[in-house]
Symmetry: C2
Subunit: 300 residues, 2 copies
C-alpha cells in the first residue's frame, strides 16, 4: 500500500492558501508543494492543522486534495486531514479524500463538547471502518483539547485501518520516557511519529518513526537533514542541526507556528495568503523580525 | 427592542433534538419549547452549547430558529447561538437568525487554532457590525478554550451591537469578587448573566442579571423560583431552593449537563433524541441513576 511508505521519515505540513471566502488558491498550493517533492520529503501532510482543514468547507477540502494529487503525481504519499466535529462528516471527508487520491487520512478528535475516551474510541472506529482510507491517529491537544493516553492509543493501534499515530512530541527532558511509554502501548512495529517542531529531534532520537513538521512545509531540505542524521545514527549531527534552528523554534513558540509560516510563505515569495479569519496575519513589526531572523539562518 | 427584555432573569437553554443525519426534529423541539413559554421564562437560549449548535449545518440552524419562532410566537425573546469557526460563517449565521426571527445572537469564540485577544475582539466587532443582530457575548471556556479577561469583556461591551454578556459563573466562594470584577469592567447597566447551573445562584445573588440555564430548559418553574427569590431579595430562600437541586448538579458535574439533559428529556417523555455523534448517550446504568435521582426531587 503506497501510504505505508509515508509513515516514517519527514512528513511536510504546508499551509493551504485560500482567499477571504475560503476558496483554495490552486496555483499557490502547487507552488508550495513542488519544492517538497523536489526535496524528496517522505510524505506530505495536506490539510493538517497548519493546513487549516478545520476552516475549509467539504468542497474546498476535496479540491485541495485533487490539486495536490495533480501536483504531486504519486511521487510522494499524501496524508490528508479528514477531521470534523461530527462522525458522519469525518466519514464523508475520508471517502472524499480517498476518491481524490489521498494515501492516508489524518484524524484528530476535533471537539466542541469535551469528549470522553469511549466517544473518541468509537469515533475513530467508525471512521476507520466506513471511511475506506488508512488512518493516522492525529493527537494535537492544543487544538482538539482531547488528550490521548498511551492506553487509548494502544487500543486504537489494534483496530483495523488505523496504521500509525502522530503524537505531540514530549519536552526533550521527557523524550526517552514519553516515546518508550507510547511504544510499549502499541503492537511492535506500529509507527509513532511526532509533531511540535522544537521537540521533534529528541523524539526522533528516542525512537520516533517520523517527524510531522510545519517547518518541513517550507524548509524540507533543512528538516530532512535532521531526519537523515537520526536515521544514520549520527545524533550529534542531528542535535547540532536542530540547535541551529533554535531562532525559528523561538518564533514558533512566541507567535505560533501557523502564523509564522503564513508570514514566511510571503517573505519567501511562495504566496501571500492570509490565514482564515478570525485568525489574523502577524503585525508588520513581527513580520520584519521573522524576515530578519530567517535571513541569518541556514534554511532551504 | 424586544431582545433587551430577555437579557435578565431566567434564560432557558433546551437541547435541539436531531436525527442521526443532523436533521432537527420539529415536533420534538416544539414539545420542548412549549412548557418554557407556559412557565414564563424570560428568554429562550436556542442553539446554545446544550443546543449543539456547533454540530448542526447552516440549513438546520436556520430551520431550528424558524421552528422555534413559530412555537414561541413572539411571547418570549429568542437568543440564538450563531458561533462558528470562521468569521464570515458567523456573520451569515447572524443574518440567517435575524431573518428567521431571532431577537439576539449568542456569539462564542469557537476555536480550533487557539485565538489571541486581538483576534477575538476583531471577530466580535465584525459579526456585530455585519450580522445585523444584537449580540450576547458568550463566554464558555470549557468548549471554546478561550478565556475572556474582564478587560476584553469591558472593551467589547462598549462596541455597538454587543448588548450583554453570558459568562461562566465563578465558584461560589469567588462569586462576589468575580461578579464585581466583571461589573467594574463594563459600562454601568451593561447586563452580565451567568451559566454553569451549579454556580449560578451565588452569581445571581452577587449581582448577575440573568441565569443562562441548562436545567431551565427542562425545569423552568423550579429554576424561575430561584431567580424570583433573588430578585425579591430573599437570598435565604434562593439558597434553600438551590440546595435542593444539589443532586441534579452532582449529576451535571459527573456526567456533563448536556449528556444528562438528553437522558432527562427521554425520562420525562419529551423526546428520545440522542446527541450528535461522536457524543454518545449515557449508558443505561447511569440513565437509571438519573431517573431515580430526579424522581426524588422537587422539579417542574
Amino acid at each position: 500500500m503506497p501510504a505505508l511508505s509515508g509513515l516514517s521519515g519527514l512528513s511536510a505540513f504546508p499551509i493551504t492558501p485560500s482567499d477571504a471566502d475560503g476558496r483554495v488558491d490552486a496555483g499557490a498550493l502547487q507552488r508550495l508543494l513542488e519544492p517538497l517533492v523536489a526535496a524528496g520529503v517522505d510524505s506530505i501532510g495536506l490539510l493538517g492543522s497548519t493546513g487549516t482543514y478545520a476552516y475549509l468547507s467539504r468542497d474546498e477540502r476535496r479540491r485541495a486534495v485533487a490539486i495536490a494529487r495533480e501536483a504531486v503525481g504519486g511521487r510522494v504519499p499524501l496524508l490528508v486531514g479528514i477531521g470534523a466535529l461530527r462522525t458522519d462528516e469525518a466519514i464523508r471527508l475520508a471517502q472524499d479524500a480517498r476518491a481524490a487520491g489521498a494515501d492516508a487520512g489524518l484524524l484528530a478528535p476535533v471537539s466542541y463538547t469535551p469528549l470522553t475516551e469511549a466517544e473518541v474510541e468509537a469515533h475513530f472506529a467508525a471512521v476507520a471502518e466506513a471511511g475506506g482510507l488508512p488512518l493516522v491517529l492525529y493527537d494535537n491537544p492544543a487544538t482538539t483539547h482531547f488528550r490521548f493516553t498511551p492506553a487509548l492509543i494502544g487500543r486504537l493501534a489494534r483496530r483495523p485501518g488505523i496504521v500509525a499515530a502522530k503524537c505531540a512530541a514530549p519536552a526533550p527532558a521527557d523524550a526517552a520516557a514519553g516515546v518508550a511509554a507510547l511504544q510499549a502501548a502499541v503492537p511492535a512495529g506500529f509507527p509513532i511519529g511526532f509533531s511540535g517542531d522544537w521537540n521533534a529531534t529528541e523524539a526522533l532520537i528516542a525512537g520516533g518513526t517520523a517527524w510531522y513538521s510545519v517547518a518541513g512545509g517550507l524548509f524540507p531540505r533543512t528538516c530532512r537533514a535532521i531526519v537523515r542524521a537520526v536515521e544514520a545514527g549520527d545524533t550529534d549531527r542531528a542535535r547540532t542541526l536542530n540547535a541551529e534552528l533554535e531562532p525559528l523554534w523561538t518564533l514558533f513558540r512566541t507567535h505560533s507556528s501557523l502564523r509564522v509560516v503564513y508570514a514566511l510563505a510571503d517573505i519567501l515569495g511562495r504566496c501571500c495568503a492570509e490565514p482564515p479569519r478570525p485568525i489574523r496575519p502577524l503585525p508588520p513589526e513581527v513580520v520584519a523580525e521573522i524576515a530578519a531572523t530567517v535571513r541569518r539562518m541556514p534554511l532551504s
